[in-house]
């Protein structure tokens, strides 16, 4: 089929470039394809929802897909985006290395790839922009919260990890650093990190890991869970074991259920992330890219510590 309809577009600046030929399902600025890490976790759903709302405000269509933590699925979604001719692709890379070939295919097709929350580090890939949390700083804050929660007594602390995600590795690195600084020159009231268990970043896996952790470490005084779902799973395990008042929990994320648990005193504190800002800023980066403007290529949003006092003032919890 030949290109039959020739259209001279937007003769003057500011004219609507929506093409001739009745493209009613094509938005003025094209489509953005977003492949989320997993839409089962509210965190990524918030990114998706805010990204969609902001993009539609700027005249884009958005297609949201769920990689379900599987890089194979995510790569397929990238290929599908390329086949359907999107203007830009946004990813929460499921595997920061294995996503490389798919990103390279997008690079070859001339479609810009943006990452949010998690970064891609594969060799030879070009990422147009990244917006994420400063996870190391968040880990430091989590360490401070734990020090605060345990007070002068110190004690044994367990980490509920999710090593597959590099963001979580950075959080635990920051946490360990803060605890290490605290322990330096201290003989009494030290905080001992006794184990890292795999909590999967999920409520059920976190629950099972914590239930085992209680058996293995009866003197536990604190738990650092790398996100809210696993923190809430740990809380359930502690309640069942009748140890909830002896073990303080520090979570991460500040999603709604986590904030409610902080208000109710079930979690001591969270370094909170801003997935809503991530979604919005990612779209602004895409707009800047397409408008040819300069923008910050890697933008890390610092976390803030959220305690019970903050929750009591939080209008979003009413």
């Amino acid at each position: 089929m030949a290109a039959t309809v020739l259209a001279a577009l937007g003769a003057c600046g500011g004219a609507d470039p929506g093409a001739g030929g009745g493209g009613e399902d094509i938005a003025a600025r094209g489509t953005i394809g977003f492949s989320a890490m997993t839409l089962k976790n509210p965190f990524f759903k918030i990114i998706a929802d805010n990204l969609t709302a902001e993009a539609e405000r700027h005249g884009f269509d958005v297609v949201v897909t769920d990689a379900e933590r599987d890089v194979n699925r995510q790569s397929q979604q990238v290929d599908n985006f390329l086949a359907s001719g999107v203007a830009a692709i946004v990813l929460n890379p499921v595997d920061r290395i294995a996503i490389g070939p798919a990103v390279r295919r997008a690079n070859e097709a001339g479609v810009p790839v943006f990452t949010s929350d998690l970064q891609a580090v594969a060799e030879g890939v070009e990422i147009a922009g990244h917006v994420g949390t400063d996870n190391y700083q968040g880990g430091l804050l989590a360490g401070e919260a734990m020090i605060e929660a345990l007070g002068e007594a110190g004690g044994e602390v367990l980490v509920l990890h999710f090593k597959q995600a590099n963001s979580c590795v950075l959080r635990v690195d920051g946490f360990r650093h803060a605890i290490g600084e605290y322990n330096r020159d201290r003989t009494e009231g030290r905080i001992e990190i006794v184990a890292e268990l795999e909590g999967g970043g999920l409520r059920d896996e976190g629950y099972r890991a914590m239930a085992d952790g209680i058996q293995a470490y009866p003197d536990l005084a604190g738990v650092f869970a790398i996100n809210d779902p696993s923190a809430l799973g740990a809380r359930t395990a502690l309640e069942q074991a009748g140890r909830a008042d002896q073990v303080r929990i520090v979570g991460f994320d500040g999603e709604l259920a986590g904030k409610q648990a902080i208000r109710d005193g079930k979690i001591y504190a969270d370094p909170i992330q801003y997935p809503d800002r991530m979604g919005v800023m990612t779209v602004r980066n895409i707009v800047s890219y397409l408008d040819g403007e300069d923008f910050e290529r890697v933008h890390l949003i610092p976390t803030a510590l959220y305690r019970q006092a903050d929750a009591e003032q939080d209008p979003s919890l009413d």
Binding site: A3, A8, G30, Q76, G85, A98, Q164, G292, E293
Partner: protein
Amino acid sequence: MPERVGESAAGRWRRRLLDLLGRNLSVVVLVLLCLISSAATWREQNPITSRSGAAVARQVLEACQAPCSVLVVARDTEADRVFVQAIEHGLDVGGARIAGRVFGQPRDVRLELERIAGAGASVDAIATHRIGSEWGPVRTAGTPVFAPGSYRWPTFLTARNLLNVVNQNADIAIIALGMTLVILTAGIDLSVGSLLALAGVIAAVTAQEWFGGGAASPAGLLAAMLLGVAAAALGGLLSGTMVTAFRVPPFVATLGLMMLARGLALILAVGHQRRLVGGGAEGTPEAVRVEAAVFAWLGNGAVLGVPNPILLMLVLFVAAHLLMTRTMFGRYVYAVGGNVEAARLSGVPVTAVLLAVYCLCGAFAGLAGIVDASRFEGGRPNAGELYELQVIAAVVVGGASLAGGRGRIAGTLIGAMIIAVIQNGLNIAGVASYEQKVVFGALILAAVLLDRLQPRLGEFRRKPL
């Protein structure tokens, strides 16, 4: 098909058509799904080719009086270069002047426009494609923009998408071959997803640690891949032994192997990562990267425009089809699945057949694992999770009976493609992910239900109308 006395020509054709439909219901379902996917993805297409480039050049020349100075805007891709070449050729012949040329990003357009303005020159027209016409600097340049017109065509039915559909599901289809054999013997294999991961990780770790890493020779990489497949085949043999020698139900035997192989894959991958960082911290369960670039050829390369995984899948399908229809072994497999005791009494070596079937199933899963590792340039210990369910769905949708004895290799290929088309169609049509699960489940049930109607259609046909 026997002719009936006194049947009218129209009646005969109707009967033939019904007969054909009844026997190839899964093909009919596949075609229907393709039609639905096409209708749901009927969209504007904006080809970037030398033809559309020539069209833009003509458009510019018609609208712009000579001497006309034109800025050509495109991205830095192969297709864009062909497109630009055609534009420039057309403009050249028509006597227009090329003021500038951008191969890159919107930012580069802005810089180029600033450069032209700085040099005191002007631009009378911008020639680009649809994507370029949406870039900010192009829209706000205050210059007429020319881009090729579009036409409507189903995105599903583009060469790129169709190759995507098959390529993405080649690994599932390859495993489904082995699973068909197992299901024909009334067995089941839940370990295939884990064996896939184990094979990929073993190939990647040995390629990195034994066969020279970045400097590995093609022969060394081949050896690493074969080691991976051999490990998966060995896993299959273990299942087969449990099923035959110890009478363990296949479901339980392969469930055990599923966990065992997944754990081994994780241990190997984490151990490799730990050695990489010098043995300090415990490693992370990330992909084991293979540095040798040739390793990626099997998964990402193409011969004559057809991706290698598709070619491998087709070769294996033909081989499996011949094995099952033309050899003694094929007949033995059907015999064992139809009635074990009868097969044993008529001299079929039942134990050997079952061992071979499970071993082959493991080997096919291993091959898919090699494809996966090559595709992602490294072995992923988390690869293939829940693949067993997708594979079993493909085999069952393809018409095989879980009770054994009934099913065809060709049916499995169709079944795998049905599932592939459903997934791709839903993705491209923009169905949201939560809804996709509902639609996918319902469509699989519908496809299997239709298949179950097949024998009844046959009965209807046999009754005198």
